[in-house]
């Protein structure tokens, strides 16, 4: 239980162990731990940044959505207005078309009636001439008296 050469030996052992432990155990481990904590800190910072970016993106999306909604509303209103206009235009056009068709039809009918009247007049003239022939028992000269008969008929039928 005295100090002897073991003391020197123990100093050597201790210092050697100290050097080796620093080199092989503490150095790598603490370096690794520092690296890891740096990595974790970076990761957390990145997560924070990501969260912030997401919040910003969400706000942006909400803004855009709102804008889009307003725009859609505008477009809808414009479309409705345009549709009303078109409807009105179509109605007007249809009305005028119908008028035109009706006018054409009326004209045609008028022409037909005239034609029919002419034909009737001719017929009546013939009949009248026939009747007069019977009555007078004279052959009327178709050519000579045509004018007179015509005048009579047109006077009579014209009144009819």
């Amino acid at each position: 239980m005295s100090i002897d050469l073991t003391f020197i030996g123990q100093i050597v052992v201790f210092l050697a162990l100290l050097g080796l432990m620093k080199k092989y155990l503490y150095g790598p481990l603490s370096g690794l731990m520092a690296e890891r904590s740096e990595k974790i800190a970076k990761g957390l910072a990145a997560a924070d940044a990501g969260k912030e970016a997401r919040a910003r993106a969400e706000a942006e999306i909400a803004e855009q959505l709102k804008e889009a909604r307003v725009k859609a509303q505008e477009i809808l209103t414009a479309t409705e207005k345009r549709a009303a206009e078109i409807e009105e235009e179509i109605t007007i056009k249809a009305r005028s078309d119908a008028q035109q068709i009706m006018d054409a039809a009326r004209e045609e009918v008028g022409a037909e009636v005239n034609k029919a009247r002419q034909a009737l007049r001719k017929e009546v003239a013939n009949l009248a001439m026939l009747a007069a022939e019977r009555v007078l028992d004279v052959e009327l000269d178709e050519k000579r008296h045509a004018k007179l008969i015509d005048t009579v008929i047109s006077k009579e039928i014209g009144h009819a």
Binding site: S2, I3, M21, Y26, S30
Partner: protein, 280 residues
């Protein structure tokens, strides 16, 4: 049983396996058991470190790496709490001190006669299994720490340290006085200051080493006492000896951990005092 085999009482068990270079000079001998055990433990630690170093991962640590990282983290925190400046040498020193002493202390929990039995198989008469029981080891470590403290004191603030050595605590008070007689008294007190300061400084390694040595040595002696008092007394003695020995083993393991921690924290504290910036 043990008594018959290892006759000669407790003192007999406290002998070292030593080699004497010079019989007349008690300093010229070396404790082979202490040297062998410490070299084995140190080699084991280095091999473990190299093994661990080869499989370190910077992902989530597992198993041995996780355990060692928690130890390193604990030591790092202790050093950071105590140190005003960053010195990359202190934490590995504290770590080495802590692990080395803890392992050596824990060897003491092995049965007291085991190492003697094993050694006798190889024809060695004595083998002290716990190197921290050998005063040489605590003193060697404490002296290393003391020399480091002195080195940092002289390196970081040489003037301040010399002034403290010569003028504290009396002279600095008296030298400021206007009265020349009081001033002279202050100068006269310098040798007294130096003596007090030297005692204060030398007490550090002394208390550091003797605290560890005393605790571990006492623990060993108590193991031997338990065995000698109880193991000799037949079956009842053996059973009670087993349980008392087990209880003391558990307690002693705790003491070993505690002493390793105390040695480490005092090392850090002494060195941090040396690193403390000068106050004016």
């Amino acid at each position: 049983m043990a008594q018959e085999e290892h006759g000669g009482g407790i003192a007999e068990h406290l002998n070292y396996w030593s080699y004497k270079f010079d019989d007349s000079n008690p300093f010229m001998q070396i404790h082979l058991d202490t040297m062998l055990t410490t070299i084995l433990v140190a080699t084991g630690l280095v091999l473990f470190s190299k093994w661990l170093g080869g499989r370190l991962t910077d992902g989530a640590p597992k198993g041995a790496q996780n355990f060692m990282e928690s130890v390193v983290g604990f030591v790092d925190d202790t050093v950071k709490d105590n140190f005003p400046v960053n010195n990359p040498f202190i934490a590995p020193l504290a770590l080495t001190v802590f692990i080395f002493i803890f392992i050596l202390n824990t060897i003491d929990v092995l049965p007291a006669f085991l190492s003697g039995h094993i050694a006798s198989l190889f024809g060695v008469a004595h083998y002290r299994q716990t190197p921290t029981n050998d005063l040489n080891l605590p003193v060697a470590m404490a002296v290393c720490v003391f020399l480091m403290t002195l080195y940092y004191e002289f390196k970081l603030k040489p003037m301040h340290f010399c002034k403290e050595l010569l003028l504290e605590p009396f002279a600095s008070l008296l030298l400021g006085a206007k009265n020349p007689i009081v001033k002279l008294l202050g100068i006269a007190l310098i040798p007294l200051n130096l003596t007090l300061k030297l005692v204060e400084e030398v007490a550090k390694p002394l208390s550091l080493s003797f605290r560890l040595f005393g605790n571990m040595f006492a623990g060993e002696v108590i193991f031997l006492l338990i065995s000698f008092l109880l193991l000799g007394g037949g079956a009842v003695g053996m059973v009670s000896g087993f349980f008392v020995g087990l209880g003391w083993s558990i307690f002693h393991m705790f003491i070993g951990l505690l002493q390793a921690f105390i040695f480490m924290i005092l090392t850090v504290v002494y060195l941090s005092i040396a690193h403390q910036p000068v106050e004016h």
